[in-house]
């Protein structure tokens, strides 16, 4: 049994009588300490998938298990990083990082020590007393990462965490994410093929709606990878594949 496994997972939404199938019969197994990137066209249900693993959404059918135990509801063992940092604006950076520790009842001194150490690992010692609105977007996302990692989650879920930062910062943060998540089990969603190729141990490509696993790819070498000509060739190949997929779905009239 895999560390994290999704077996035959489907998700259907009902809206005004019509039914939207977001995911259908999706199977995915993630091993411990594996960095898996989910890649797919927008609307393929990759965010939905992440929300299901987080426990924020329920499956319509199928099962999600972590360490052999079915996932029901949310919890800090499956922490999320979102596209925007979603820091609590009334708490300083340090207090934000300590937020989850407070819920688990860590005594104040220990809480602050752990939070400080986590911030320091992201290179944010100097920012600990600042409020979120005083931080840049990249710094906010780093605080969010520190806030998640300090809880030592079994699985770290990342939903396009770098979609709203500029290209230069993006490649830097990609490196930081890989470095700070060493040894962690990570499920990372992106629509950027290049980002997926740079970061992933294993790449899972989803088909357009309804989402299911179209293609899996184990990437060799140590991530984060720098762009080589073979990586760029792979990028182009995947891009073609995704474009074909998109063409198929637009051509086929959807009977709902």
């Amino acid at each position: 049994m895999s560390f994290l496994s999704l077996v035959d997972v489907s998700k259907r939404y009902r809206t005004n009588g019509s039914e939207l199938v977001a995911l259908e019969g999706l199977n995915l197994a993630v091993e411990e300490s594996e960095f898996v990137v989910l890649l797919g066209p927008s609307g393929c249900g990759k965010s939905t998938l992440l929300q299901i693993v987080a426990g924020l959404e329920q499956v319509s059918s199928g099962q999600v298990t972590l360490r052999g135990r079915p996932v029901t509801g949310w919890g800090s063992e499956r922490t999320c990083i979102f596209q925007r940092a979603h820091l609590f604006p009334w708490l300083t950076a340090l207090e934000n990082v300590a937020f989850g520790l407070r819920l688990t009842g860590h005594p104040k001194g220990e809480r602050l020590r752990l939070a400080r150490a986590s911030l320091a690992r992201m290179g944010l010692d100097a920012a600990s007393a600042l409020y979120p609105h005083e931080l840049s977007g990249g710094m906010q996302q780093r605080v969010a990462l520190a806030r998640a990692l300090v809880l030592d989650p079994a699985v770290l879920l990342m939903d396009e965490p770098l979609a709203s930062v500029d290209a230069l910062l993006r490649s830097r943060l990609q490196r930081e994410i890989r470095a700070s998540c060493r040894g962690k089990t990570v499920l990372f969603v992106t629509h950027s093929i290049r980002e997926a190729l740079v970061l992933a141990d294993r790449l899972v490509i989803l088909s357009a709606r309804p989402g299911r696993v179209r293609h899996e790819l184990r990437l060799g070498g140590e991530a984060p990878r720098s762009l080589s000509s073979s990586l760029i060739a792979l990028e182009e190949q995947i891009e073609r594949e995704l474009l074909e997929d998109a063409a198929e779905t637009t051509m086929a009239p959807q009977s709902v």
Binding site: T79, F82, F88, F99
Partner: protein, 277 residues
């Protein structure tokens, strides 16, 4: 020229203008109030000059009468408002969190809310007679619905993503309410309190004029019966000053509790440098 130098150059005169501007209308009003009755433009019996009103105010203050009435009114305001807040805020949050509850209560709230507080006075007197009880009741109904609707809409506007973030950091639903919803509401609740206390003062004066034998409202209506215009005006000035003090206190509290908010003011998009305090 550098931006900083421009700002520095305009800072001193700008501050002066701003302070002065704050008092100019008040001074003009005071001058007209003093001059008009003295020059015979207005009947001093109907509008005694400001200085006479102030002197009478000092007399009442020194005699202890004014403070007694003020304390009676203030106590009613605080007690009535606190009761309304203790009930309306948790209820408003619950309605904001659960749509079914909101739908259940929507028509009732829309029906009762437009009833102005004085509209409740006859019923309050029938139910509670004369004394503190009807006054408290009127303040309660006068502020309850405004607080309820304000809390409800503020709760509905809480950022769901922040709640999601809290849940995946290990919060239970209830912890998310405590640690995310409540702190998100603080700025709105302070605004609601400012509005609510203002409303409560309007209610208490109205109630005291008919249903109570002490308080600023009663003092004013008694003064009117005895044709002591000075006393009526002392009451009005007192209400104004109390409102000013209350509001000043709450604005300060807001500044302290809501430092984390980067508002439109801080951006200086609308107010140019010269208008900044």
């Amino acid at each position: 020229m550098s931006l900083e130098r421009t700002a520095a150059a305009s800072r001193r005169p700008a501050r002066f203008t701003f302070r002065w501007r704050r008092w100019v209308l008040l001074l003009a009003l005071a001058t007209v109030w003093e001059a008009a009755p003295r020059l015979g433009l207005l009947d001093p019996l109907l509008l005694p000059p400001l200085t006479r009103v102030l002197a009478r105010g000092w007399e009442l203050l020194a005699g202890g009468r004014l403070l007694g009435d003020l304390a009676a009114s203030a106590w009613r305001v605080l007690a009535g408002f606190a009761a309304a807040a203790l009930l309306a805020i948790p209820l408003g949050i619950a309605l904001g969190l659960y749509p079914a509850l909101e739908q259940l209560s929507a028509s009732l709230v829309s029906l009762l809310r437009p009833l102005s507080p004085p509209a409740w006075i006859p019923l309050a007197i029938l139910w509670f007679g004369i004394g503190d009880a009807p006054a408290l009741f009127i303040i309660f109904v006068g502020t309850f619905f405004s607080l309820l609707v304000g809390t409800l809409s503020a709760t509905k506007a809480v950022d769901a993503q922040l709640v999601k973030a809290a849940l995946t950091l290990g919060a239970s639903r209830w912890q998310a309410v405590q640690r995310v919803v409540l702190p998100s509401l603080v700025p709105d609740l302070l605004t609601q309190t400012r509005i609510g206390l203002g409303l409560a003062w309007m209610c208490v004066i109205a109630a005291e004029m008919v249903a109570v034998r002490r308080g600023i409202g009663f003092m004013m209506i008694e003064a009117r019966n005895l044709f002591r215009t000075e006393d009526v005006l002392v009451g009005m000035v007192t209400i104004g000053l109390v409102g000013l003090a209350m509001d000043g206190f709450l604005v300060r509290l807001e500044g302290r509790l809501c430092r984390w908010r980067a508002g439109l003011r801080a951006s200086r998009l609308y107010a140019p440098e010269e208008l900044q305090a």
